[in-house]
Symmetry: C2
Subunit: 142 residues, 2 copies
């Protein structure tokens, strides 16, 4: 069997499994994984769409859409910059704090629970492998 394809396949499955688990746990709080990623970025201080996009590595348009839905739920709000009116600041609302307490707990424990049973050395090997891979990959991307 082709090892490269195998690696690609494992990567996909791992990613999907992680996503599914996190999504399932988060659903009780009424937020999704990308929404949580964005929320984390604007806590406690506001950020612009551009800053958020860079931080979470998603396109402007994707982040804009995510914020549409967060705003609809009144978890964040858009505030125009007074000095440079092109800029939009994304600011948390009061409503978000209760969510935060719960979700902080969630993220604290989620990965710890998942990786329970792996030794520190195991984790280091995994990290090392993937870092080598991503370095080569990203230098090849250009």
């Amino acid at each position: 069997m082709n090892k490269s394809l195998h690696i690609r396949d494992l990567l996909k499955r791992l990613n999907k499994t992680f996503g599914t688990m996190a999504t399932k746990e988060l659903s009780q709080y009424g937020v999704t994984v990308p929404q949580l990623m964005v929320i984390r970025e604007i806590h406690p201080d506001p950020k612009t769409i551009g800053q958020i996009s860079k931080a979470v590595d998603l396109s402007y348009s994707t982040v804009s859409g995510i914020i549409d839905r967060l705003e609809r739920e009144q978890l964040v709000e858009r505030v125009r910059d007074e000095n440079d009116r092109r800029v939009v600041w994304i600011r948390k609302t009061p409503k978000i704090s209760e969510l935060f307490a719960k979700v902080d707990f969630f993220s604290e424990n989620f990965y710890k629970r998942i990786f329970h049973g792996f030794s520190d050395e195991d984790l280091d090997i995994i990290i090392q492998s993937m870092e080598t891979l991503i370095v080569k990959l990203e230098e090849r991307e250009s």
Copy 2:
């Protein structure tokens, strides 16, 4: 820094980088990654939606949508089973063969090119790490 989170992050980045690269290369042939995954499944012999879904690990509805678009491009066609009319067979069309030649070439070389420079031992370590991870993860999923 939290190692679990780091691993999750690397996983995401790797997956995304792979996807972006493959998408870019495939765009010249007018197909997407999921479309190619499905096409591979029905070559040379037809499969049902159910079989395809299981093989590519996507939901029925997702596969149904992908096939809608492949059918629109006349790359595949839906054929009702004569004996059990609930079943729909997805069959390749003549138009697909030229695509196949090019895309076969693509897949032959894509991963080899990416993993060029990694020794067999390197790959084994990566595979080993990820397999350990996915086993624990998937047993935890239940």
